[in-house]
Structure formats: C-alpha cells, structure tokens
C-alpha cells in the first residue's frame, strides 16, 4: 500500500489569488492523479500526472487554471490559479502502484474555501 500526505489540509483564500497543493507519497509511483470533489458530490478527475511528461487534463480543466508539477516519482503539486468562489472544493491526489490491481490510494484531501 501507499501512504499519501497532502499540504495544506485546508485553506481559506481570497478571490483572484492562487494556491499550490502538495502531494507526497511514501513510495515511488509512476502515475498520480488529481481529483476535485465539491461538497456532497462525487469525485471528478482533473488530470493525470506522469513523471517526466506534461500532465494530461480532462475535459473542462485546463493547464492555465490548474498547472501541475511532477518533479519526481514521489511528489506532485496542483495549483489552483486566479481563484473564484466556484473553486471552493476538496482537492485530492491519488496514486496507483505500478503492476498493481488498479487500486488507487488517496490522500486525505485539501479543503479549499474561496471568499
């Protein structure tokens, strides 16, 4: 199994600012994923982050709004840029271990509130 930590656990931000969320894994993994979960809703995939290449974004999400870094096999960041109240949500990172059974391990999430 993989243990994932996220920083910050929560934040309250002003409209128009940006927040960078960090995701740290205790083992080396090839694929990391970033999700958004709005209150009372299901998870929506934002992007897939593969070490050494550009992130792949899902429909409705763009790099300018959600830039992602993946500098090594244990770390990734997601930045929420030029925030608006509609960006208030929980942001989760997950990993899938290479050669595993498709099981994803999730971080605890970052609860973002934009005023």
């Amino acid at each position: 199994s993989a243990v994932i930590s996220q920083k910050p656990s929560r934040d309250i931000c002003q409209r128009g600012t940006s927040l960078t969320i960090q995701c740290q894994v205790d083992s080396q993994v090839t694929m990391m994923f970033w999700y958004r979960q709005q209150p009372g809703q299901s998870l929506t995939l934002i992007a897939t982050a593969n070490q050494g290449s550009e992130a792949t974004y899902e429909s409705g999400f763009v790099i300018d709004k959600f830039p992602i870094s993946r500098p090594n096999l244990t770390f990734s960041t997601l930045t929420v840029s030029n925030m608006s109240p509609e960006d208030s949500s929980i942001y989760l990172c997950s990993v899938e271990q290479t050669g595993g059974n498709n099981e994803q391990f999730f971080g605890p999430g970052t609860r973002l509130t934009v005023l």
């Binding site: 995939l45 897939t48 059974n101 498709n102 609860r111």
Partner: protein, 113 residues
C-alpha cells in the same frame, strides 16, 4: 468507459446485511469492477475488486452475474462505522496501464442504531 448507476442512498439497521447493486450495462470484456468506501473528510478507500462470479475478503463480498452487467457489494452485519458513501468503478484490466478513474454518484449508506 462503462457508465455506472447506483442507488443514491440506502438505510440499514445495525447488524443487518446490506447489498448495494451497481449497473454497468456496457462493461467491456476486459473490465474489472472495483468498489471504494469514502468516509466524510477522507479520501476513498479500496474495498474489493472482481471480474466475475464471487469475490470475498475480510470486509465484503462482491457478486457478479454471468452477464457482468451489474454487480452487488455485500456488507455483512453492518455497524454504525460502515456509514459512508460507496462507489462502484469499472475499467482495467489491472496492471495493463489502464485505470479506473471515473467515479459515479455513489451510494450513501446510513446505518441506524
């Protein structure tokens, strides 16, 4: 990607067996079925995965009929701590570089004392 449909919510009394069914009519031949559990303020957690017939582990059983167009997660003798949202995902196969990344709406299970 196969779309999944689950009941939005279910209620159960403590000690009862709970069965949550997920429909996935357009499941592909190589797809596996995976269930996750999510507690409030936590990320989802893997429960069980299967391809066909029945799979059982220490926390749940997964029943998949021959046509694989649905699957049923069975939780034996639920307790209050089983109150959570349960998600069914379809995709795979495992280890082949394909991923199960589409979460449906999930089923909110409420266990009543």
């Amino acid at each position: 990607l196969a779309k999944t449909t689950q009941p939005i919510s279910m209620d159960s009394y403590e000690g009862q067996e709970v069965n949550i069914t997920c429909s996935h009519n357009n499941i592909a031949t190589n797809d596996y079925i995976t269930w996750y559990q999510q507690f409030p303020s936590q990320g989802p957690r893997f429960i069980i995965q299967g391809y066909k017939t029945k799979v059982t582990n220490e926390v749940a059983s997964l029943f998949i009929p021959a046509d694989r167009k649905s699957s049923t997660l069975s939780l034996p003798r639920v307790s209050l701590s089983d109150t959570a949202v349960y998600y069914c995902l379809v995709g795979g196969p495992p280890g082949a570089g394909s991923y199960q990344l589409t979460f449906g709406k999930g089923t909110k299970l409420s266990v009543i004392p």
